[in-house]
Every structure is written in structure tokens, then in C-alpha cells.
Amino acid sequence: MILSGWETVFFWIFSITAILAGLLTVMARNAVHSALFLISSLVSVGALFILLGAEFIAGVQILVYVGGVMVLFLFVIMLVNVGAEEEGRAPMFHRPLQVATALLFSLLLVLGLLNAINRAFGGPKDKEQAEQTAIARGAREQTLQTGATGVSRLSTETERVGNSLYTYASLPFEIASLLLLVAIIGSVMLARTLKQEAAADDVDPEVSLTAAGMQEMEGQG
């Protein structure tokens, strides 16, 4: 897998954007700014997915992460009061010693990872192979069906993902649906207030508590 030409330019643009936006997510004082920087980081990574030929995943990334999860995050940020941090009265980070230790271990982790990647890939491949790969990909794309406009060609990537999802990964697919159901019920249960719980049980919590206490006392007596 070797990119060339315009793909290289877009690779560097989107990867640098993703990293800078990721850094700003962690560094931003305002939580809303953090969320917006995270959105731009996620969109950049989505663009890298398109560069890698995974159009369906890129679409899902934009729809689910940016359209769903991040909107949820923004709602919760609005619900929760974070005024003190924004005004600079409360510290953003932990105490300096804790931060220093955390960063030291992060540095060790990054060194280990980069060392491992460097060792596994002993330098870039030669140009001939890059050109061959590009030519092979171009030839493969020529066999694809043309789109309605006649300019671009239709990718069969989504079809392949769908096929694999229902054959190779059909059991995890069903389990994922169950997980989502549990998540929906769980988040509804967590976000309920005491009043709403009482309304759902049709009994005031204090009344039900005293009734249970009296039954217990009767049982002991």
C-alpha cells in the first residue's frame, strides 16, 4: 500500500489536521471548543478512510460520530455547568507532578510504538513498486461500472462490506444490535430523576419505602 501523487498531498493535509485538532481537543480550556476540535479531528480521520478506499466506513464515521455522538456530547456540555473552568478560575489539568508522570509514560509509550513500527518497516519501499501499485489500482478501477454522470466510477466497496457483515460477521452483528438495545435502556434508566422513577412505579418513593418498612416490622413481630 503506497500512495502517490495527489493522494500524498491529501494524506499529509488530513493527517496533520487530525493530529493538530486532536492536540487542541486535549488542550482547549472550553469544553465546547474541545468538542468542536474533536469533530474536525474525526472528519480528518474520515477523509483518511476515503484515501484508504473505505468509503462506507468514512460515511459511517461522519454520520455516527459527528452526527450522533458529538451532538450528544454538545448537549451534555450544555446541560452541565463548566463555567469555572472557562473563566480560568479552576485548573484544567491535574497537579503538575501527576501531569509530569502521565506525560513521561505517554512519551515512553510513543517511543515504544514508533520503535516497533520502525523495526517492522525497515524504510520506505522503492519507487518502482509505488508506480506498479498505482498502475495496478488504476487498471482495477477501469473495470468498475461508470457512474450516472460518466465522469467517475462506482466503487463496490459498500457492497463488499455489506456482504461480509451478513456472512462473515453475522453473529457479532446480532450481538451489536442487542448491545445497542441495552445501551438505550441503560441510558434512559441512568438519566431518570427520582420523581420520574416514582411516576413510572405509580408510587411515591417515600410511601413505598414506609410500606416496605412496615411489612418488615410485621415480619419481625
Partner: protein
């Protein structure tokens, strides 16, 4: 192009030999799998540092999303690599990514529900003030 790059970069990296420098420039001009892995590793580390250093519970959640996203990038890069090398199941990486996104969505829903319940009870989202279970 190379005639332009090599003298400029050669001034900056004095000790780098000509062959190594040309190789490095070629790596920049033709990014391969390792470049994607490096980008994903950097995003992962940023997320880990965010989880370990920030006090705001919501920003910690966002850092977790960043970590999951870095893992997704790795999976997709390896999926493409397998497609071109023709070994293994090339779609496995993309399928894994779909499930990671599903789990991330469920995790965000539950996690934010917990944040709201916590804020309702403790009136704080600073994780160093949430120390009920600490001895």
C-alpha cells in the same frame, strides 16, 4: 523535485548521509502503511495523555473517542494493506471498525448518562472531586 529538497533538508540534518536522506524524502512523497500507523500511534498517545491529565470528565470522554478513532485508523490501514497483498480476509478490518463505532456510540450514550446522573448527585464534573470510593 529531488534537486530542490535534498540541499535544503541537508542543511538542517547535517549528519544524515545522502542515501538515507533520499530514502526519507521518498517516504514523505510516497506514504505507505507505516506512515498511517505512525499517525494512528500519535493520535492514540494524544488521547492517552488527555485521559491521564485532564480534570474535566467530558474531555476525558472525548479523549477516549480519540483513542478508539486511532484504533479504527489502524484497522482500515491494515485492511487496505491486506487487500493489496492478497492474504487473509481483506474485509475483516472494515467489519471490525463498524463494530468499534457501534460500541463507541453505546459507550458514549451510557457514559454521558452516568455523567448526568453524577452531576445531579454531586454537582461536579471534576474527577479529582469525585473521590467517594477512594480511601
Amino acid at each position: 523535485m529531488d534537486q530542490l529538497y535534498i540541499p535544503v533538508l541537508g542543511l538542517i540534518f547535517q549528519e544524515a548521509s545522502d542515501g538515507r536522506l533520499a530514502k526519507a524524502i521518498d517516504g514523505v512523497k510516497h506514504p505507505d502503511l507505516s506512515k498511517f500507523l505512525v499517525i494512528a500511534a500519535i493520535l492514540f498517545i494524544i488521547g492517552v495523555a488527555g485521559v491521564l491529565t485532564r480534570r474535566n470528565l467530558l474531555v476525558i470522554f472525548m479523549s477516549i473517542e480519540l483513542i478508539l478513532n486511532a484504533a479504527n485508523l489502524n484497522f482500515i490501514a491494515f485492511s487496505r494493506y491486506l487487500q493489496e497483498s492478497g492474504t487473509g480476509n481483506p474485509m475483516a478490518g472494515q467489519i471490525f471498525t463498524v463494530f468499534i463505532i457501534v460500541v463507541a456510540a453505546a459507550e458514549a450514550a451510557i457514559g454521558l448518562g452516568i455523567v448526568i446522573a453524577l452531576y445531579r448527585n454531586r454537582e461536579t464534573i471534576w474527577i479529582d472531586e469525585i473521590d467517594l470510593m477512594k480511601w
